[in-house]
Symmetry: C2
Subunit: 437 residues, 2 copies
């Protein structure tokens, strides 16, 4: 088991060599330009807590507080001529070097982690803290990381909303072993507060608070969603009860064939609606939150009009954005109620009646209000979505992308989407099976 | 107009004669038997506020407080050999005499209306109060009664939930004329309090309080529903704005033909569900409240399972009971969600998962709870109703009646019910048009 997650001596040696090389190159270039700059390996590579096959190198380029990050960025560009520029709070350089994914991140060298100029400035403090405490616990970190990966809650980016590497390390330091973390997590409930150094008090309205030992006003688990937190808790319980390698290495989902998909859909008897459009050219950490917001807006539209949603999900792959709404009730009568003002508001009543001169039924009085029954504009969910979609405010990026072109698939039509990524997504969506017993 | 509602001199003379005759007969019989008994004409006939064609005579047989009502009842039976016995709080005799509907009601003669032995004992006080105040206002009472009748809110029995004759008389005495009652009612809102004698304070949680001048702790309008009260208010406004005889004498509804019914149903695109059974042999004032309760129970069942109801209504005619549920959404997917306990309730979760071993999807975690998706038992409203009806507690009378036999009609099948009464009900139901503009 451990052999599958622990990098081999050869892998470690390669990582060490490459990182040393890159750091040497940075220092040489800085010296040439007379810059005060400190290059440092941070993250899991620095802490010996990286998973085999995870070939990520985070190298920070620290400059004094009073200098300018742009010079460091300039230098990072020179280190890796083949690179792309990415943006978090500040720009940084991403490059592939000898099969490693290398991030070269400019940051400020500050004295006190609670007085940062930028969020990345905190990372060196994290590395220092973990390095001082982690000795002997590295394997437990690897096991926990792989466990979280296996159950689908590893990664604090917004798409996942799971556990960051730093959070994993803190949990292992706190509870002293992989099984002890699981035992503790088994009992978690919302509003759990953990603190390695202090007395621990809830900082914000987040389900799990883990006080950052280098900055006590920060919650390391701020990005963790309630459901991912509790999935880990339930999976921990299940694993302790019936341990299995499958938690770490679940069977990979195969793309659904037409026949399989058809059979699953028949059994469910639902009406899947898919909205597909070209994804705007933004990173996942921007795209997914926007898609989630749009998902909520469309859910609200459908629900407000009386259609019932069983479940929904979103997916971005390649240049595509897909939003799936699985309808539990998708057709309604033509006739619907329009509830007007209270009867005693004479002017409002008069105006309401003037606007509804020829109802199917009514006007009548119900619970103190004037009511008419008339024809609804759209009596099936697909028509409603098609008609109202462009009128929804779905955020600038998505609204534009949808206006440029989109397609709605309903029922069996969704099988016209044959992409492997989509069919795997569909398999996972239909399973929706978390590793809990 | 007035000539249509005001009894002719000949009609009045007949009523006077007949009531005098009956009272004389009662007094004679009482004398023969040595009973202390006071026979009196009460109600609208006594007050000259009866509508032409309304041939109702209420004659009370008052006996001293310390005697027994059963003797008076015995006597009432002798007065009208052809009669039926009815029950309110106590039994009374109902008979047809020369084209009049005569109620012979035993009651106690009490000194103070606030210290009654039975609700009917209050009536003589009402008659005395009204007789002392109504002189010159009789025509206004007749107009208001006919207006209320025309808009469908006259009658305080439980089926109607409208205005009693006594309430009408009090309103006219308070506001001094028919148009002034309408003008005042135009401005009514819930929690209106009227008091002819005192300062008027709300007695109970009823939308309109009219303090009974002969018993200040009683609300004369207690039976009036919010919607009937406000319908009168809105119709008053509409009538004052555009007076029309139609308010008093609306066009009678014709029974719907198959073709008309079909056309109306097509336009609505709803799914009517009708539950029909033999009405239990109880009076309307018992039957209707029970049917309304059963209507609520069935609405709750359908709604709880995700089906949408546009409107519902009930009807009793001859020996039949009919409950109509017009469905706005009547078909759902096979798949449905079952939401389990919060994740941290380990034992409950384990039990929940054991009970749902092979879901269509899941288990997964949603908003802190374990969720599975499985097949619902009934995915259309008709099947649900058919399967669960006998398990609902619909009150003793109705539950038994339904168990003895019932039929469910769905969609076009409802046209198999060809009774004239039902087809008129259907026409009124589909119109649902209150006289408000």
């Amino acid at each position: 088991m451990l052999s599958q997650v622990r990098p081999s001596p050869k892998e470690r040696e390669r990582l060490r060599l490459i990182s040393r090389e890159i750091i040497a190159k940075i220092e040489r270039l800085a010296e040439e330009r007379g810059m005060v700059l400190q290059a440092m390996l941070v993250g899991s590579a620095a802490r010996d807590t990286w998973l085999a096959q995870d070939h990520d190198l985070d190298i920070f380029l620290g400059v004094p507080e009073n200098s300018d990050l742009s010079e460091a960025m300039e230098l990072a560009r020179l280190v890796a001529p083949e690179h792309e520029e990415r943006y978090a709070e500040h720009p940084y350089v991403h490059a592939r070097v000898d099969g490693f994914e290398v991030d070269l991140v400019p940051c400020y060298l500050v004295d006190d982690a609670s007085r940062l100029k930028s969020a990345v400035d905190r990372t060196p403090f994290h590395t220092r803290y973990i390095k001082g405490k982690i000795a002997g616990l590295e394997d437990d970190v690897l096991l926990l990381k792989q466990f979280l990966k296996g159950i689908g809650v590893y990664g604090s980016e917004l798409k996942t909303g799971g556990f960051s590497g730093y959070l994993v390390e803190l949990l292992v330091i706190l509870y002293r072993s992989f099984p002890d973390v699981l035992r503790a997590a088994s009992h978690w409930r919302p509003d759990t507060v953990l603190d390695l150094e202090g007395e621990g008090k809830k900082l914000h309205d987040e389900p799990l608070t883990v006080v950052d030992p280098v900055d006590p006003n920060r919650n390391v688990a701020a990005a963790l969603t309630l459901d991912k937190m509790l999935l880990f808790s339930a999976a921990s319980r299940s694993f302790l009860d019936r341990p299995s390698l499958e938690f770490f290495f679940p069977r990979e989902d195969e793309p659904l064939s037409d026949e399989e998909a058809q059979a699953r859909m028949d059994a469910r008897g639902t009406m899947p609606l898919i909205l597909q459009f070209q994804a705007p050219d933004v990173v996942e950490d921007v795209l997914y939150p926007q898609m989630r917001k749009a998902e909520e807006s469309i859910r609200a539209l459908l629900t407000r009009k009386g259609f019932l949603i069983l479940r929904s999900d979103v997916l971005a792959y390649r240049d595509r954005a897909v939003m799936l709404f699985e309808m539990e009730g998708w057709e309604l009568s033509r006739a619907c109620r329009r509830t007007g003002p209270p009867v005693w508001e004479a002017e409002h009543v008069a105006r309401f009646l003037a606007v509804h001169p020829h109802p199917l039924s009514g006007p009548y009085i119900k619970e103190g209000r004037v009511v008419v029954e008339e024809s609804r504009k759209h009596n099936c969910a697909r028509d409603l979505l098609a008609a109202e979609l462009e009128g929804l405010s779905l955020g600038k990026h998505l609204s534009e992308a949808i206006r440029r072109g989109h397609k709605i698939y309903a029922g069996q039509e969704i099988l016209e989407i044959r992409d492997r990524e989509f069919r795997i997504f569909l398999a996972q969506y239909l399973d929706a099976r978390a590793p809990i017993y």
